[in-house]
Symmetry: C2
Subunit: 340 residues, 2 copies
C-alpha cells in the first residue's frame, strides 16, 4: 500500500479500542455546504452572572445556595439521570429485557469565573480540576454500589450544554455503559494475548511515526487517533500504563493539566471561536478488580467541521451504518499542530 | 417486578437487535431546559424553486440538468462518500488497520414538488418511492462488488439535510457497516438457536401487549421499540418475515407506504411542525447468501424532545457511556397513537 492512499481513496479504519470502524472519504472534503449554520456566540461573558445557577453565591432551582467557592465546586446534580436510592428490579419477559440502574450524578464547576472555559485557564488552575476529579473518583470508587465512573464535559450550546459557566459532570453507576464495555473487552483480549496494554503499544507506534501527534510532555501525549470519528477528535493518553487517574502523582497531574490546556487553546484558535466539544475520561471499572488491562485516556469529540458555524452531522448513514468523516486524521493533526 | 417500575425508576433496556443498552430515566422528564433552541421553519415552500438543485429541469453543481421528472427521480450522488472505481488496498501495520471501501451513492427525489415531504404525500405516491427503492436495491444487489445497501433519509436542517426538497439517499458498499454487522450477528444467533426470526417473535409479543403499538394494517406494524433511544423513535416492521424489500408484492408495497404515511403525518402533528428525523431501512446483506435470519425493518430517529425547538442532545454521557432517554417508550407510543 502506498502511504498516500489513505489521503486519496475511501477506506475504513479500525478503532482498536472498540472493535468498530469509521468510514473515511478524503476526496469528499470539498463538497459545498448549503445546510444549517450553527449560531456562534463570541460575546464576552461577565465574570459573574446573577442569573447563572452555577456562579458562586447564587441560588439553584431546588433552593440550595452555592457557596462562595474560590476554585472548584462540586454538587450532586439537581436533575440526576441516575439516583442512589432508586428501586432495584429486573425484567426478563420474553424479548423484553430490562435491569434497574442506580448511581450518583454530580456537577463540577471548574472555576467561579463565569467568563472562562478550560481554554482560558492556567495549567495550575486546571490541575485543581484534576485534583477534584481524583477526589470524586476515589470517593465513588469506594462505594460498593458504584462500578463505573464517567467524568465528562459538554461544552457549547451546540453540544447540549445549557449553561456556559465552565463545568463538567460525573455520572457513576452500578454497571458498565456500552462504550466502556466495548473498550473493556478489547483491552482485555489484547492484554491476555500480549501481556501489554493495547494503548501503550499503539502509543509507541504513533510516537515512532509522529504523523498524528499534536503535543507531548514528560507524562502525556496528545494525538488524533488513527480511527478518529469527529473531524478534530483528539485523545490525551498517559505514557505510563495507568488504569485510572488515581495513579497520577502531583507532577503528572500538572502535566495532564498542561495537555488539556494546550489542546483546548489550539482548538479555540482553529476557527477563532470558543470551540465546542464533549470530552470524557475512560477509566477502569471501579468494581474492585485490578483491571490491569486498562490504560485510561481522555477523548475530545468536537463537532465543528470547517468553520465556527459549519458542523459535521452524524445522521442518516452514520446512525444506520458507520460513522463517516471527510478530512483525514493526519490532516486534522497537522492543522492543530500548527496552532500550538 | 411491578409493571409501573419502568415508568418510575432509572433502568436500562436491552436492544435485542444490537445487543446494546439504553439508559432510561423516567423521573427526569421534568427537568427545565435553558439550553439551545432549534430554529423552526414553518414557512410554506413553493412547489418549484429555481435555486433548488433537486427540482425538475434545474441544473446541478456538476452541470448536469435534471429531467422534467413527474414522480421519483434517482441520480448518482455528485459528492459521493463512496466511489465505484476507487483503488483497492489494505493496511495492517501493527495497530493501524485500514481497508479500502468502494461503493455507489445515489440520491432519490421523492417528488418533483419542492413544497412536500413524505408526510404530505398520498400513500399511492409513497408507493412509487417504495417501487424505486425496490428497483435500486435489486440493481445494486446484483452488483458483485456491492454487499450491503443502506437506504436512508435525513429530514430537516437539524438532521444535516442541506436541501428541503423531499429526498433520501442510498449508500451501497462492499462490506457491512457497524450497525448492520451488530444486527446481523444478533439475528443469526437467535435464528440458529430458535429457528425463527427474533423480530418476528418480538412482534408477536408486542401485538399481544399493545402497549407500544402505534398502528397496524394487514402487512405492517408501526411501534415504538421497547429499547428506543430517541424520544419518539419508531420502527415499521413487516408482519411476515422478509429479508429485504424485494419480497414485497404490490399490495404490501402499498401497505408499507400507508405505514410510512400514517407515522410521518402523526409526527408532524406532535409539535405542529414538519418533524425532522433520520430514517433508514436495515435489510439483509446483498452478499449472495440466503440470509434467512434477517427480518428487514425501517427505523425513524427523530431528535425533538418536547417541542419544535427543544431537541434531545446525544452528547457527553451518551457519547462516552450509553444512549440515555427521559420519556419512556410507552409514553411516547401513547402520545403518537393519540394523533392517528
Ligand atoms: O449527503 P448530504 O445530505 O450532503 O449530507 C448529510 O448526510 C450524510 C449522510 O448521512 C452525512 O454524512 C452528512 O454529514 C450530512 O450533512
Ligand atoms: O445534564 P445536562 O447538561 O442538563 O444535559 C446535557 O448532558 C446530558 C449528559 O450528556 C445529556 O443527557 C443531555 O441531553 C444534554 O442536554
Amino acid at each position: 500500500m502506498d502511504n498516500t492512499d489513505l489521503q486519496d481513496y475511501s477506506h475504513k479504519r479500525l478503532n482498536i479500542l472498540t472493535g468498530e470502524w469509521v468510514l473515511v472519504s478524503p476526496h469528499r472534503a470539498k463538497r459545498p455546504w448549503q445546510g444549517q449554520n450553527e449560531a456562534v456566540s463570541n460575546d464576552a461573558r461577565p465574570a459573574y452572572d446573577e442569573s447563572c445557577y452555577l456562579c458562586a453565591g447564587n441560588t439553584r432551582i431546588n433552593g440550595e445556595v452555592n457557596p462562595k467557592y474560590q476554585d472548584v465546586f462540586v454538587f450532586t446534580n439537581d436533575f440526576a439521570a441516575l439516583q442512589k436510592d432508586s428501586k432495584s428490579f429486573s425484567l426478563e419477559d420474553g424479548l423484553l429485557v430490562a435491569e434497574s440502574e442506580t448511581g450518583i450524578c454530580k456537577v463540577v464547576c471548574f472555576s467561579p469565573d463565569h467568563s472562562k472555559s478550560l481554554a482560558d485557564m492556567e495549567a495550575k488552575d486546571i490541575q485543581k480540576v484534576v485534583f477534584t476529579w481524583q477526589k470524586e473518583f476515589k470517593e465513588l470508587s469506594e462505594n460498593p454500589d458504584i462500578n463505573y465512573v464517567q467524568i465528562f464535559e459538554n461544552k457549547g450550546a451546540v453540544m447540549g450544554c445549557s449553561n456556559p459557566h465552565p463545568h463538567g459532570q460525573i455520572w457513576s453507576q452500578s454497571t458498565l455503559p456500552n462504550e466502556v464495555d466495548k473498550k473493556n473487552t478489547q483491552q482485555l483480549a489484547y492484554y491476555n494475548e500480549n501481556n501489554s496494554s493495547i494503548l501503550g503499544d499503539y502509543l509507541a507506534q504513533e510516537l515512532g511515526k509522529q504523523e498524528r501527534i499534536i503535543f507531548e510532555n514528560d507524562s502525556f501525549v496528545v494525538l488524533i487517533p488513527f480511527w478518529a470519528v469527529w473531524p478534530f477528535e483528539a485523545m490525551i493518553v498517559p505514557k505510563k500504563q495507568q488504569s485510572n487517574i488515581l495513579e497520577l502523582n502531583d507532577t503528572e497531574a500538572l502535566e495532564y493539566a498542561e495537555a488539556i490546556s494546550v489542546l483546548t487553546k489550539a482548538y479555540d484558535k482553529l476557527f477563532n471561536t470558543s470551540f465546542p466539544y464533549s470530552s470524557g475520561i475512560h477509566q477502569a471499572p471501579t468494581d474492585g478488580n485490578e483491571n490491569k488491562h486498562w490504560h485510561w485516556h481522555m477523548s475530545f469529540y468536537p463537532p465543528l467541521l470547517r468553520s465556527a458555524t459549519v458542523k459535521k452531522f452524524m445522521v442518516g448513514y452514520e446512525m444506520f451504518g458507520s460513522p463517516q468523516r471527510d478530512i483525514t486524521a493526519e490532516i486534522a493533526a497537522k492543522m492543530i499542530r500548527e496552532l500550538i
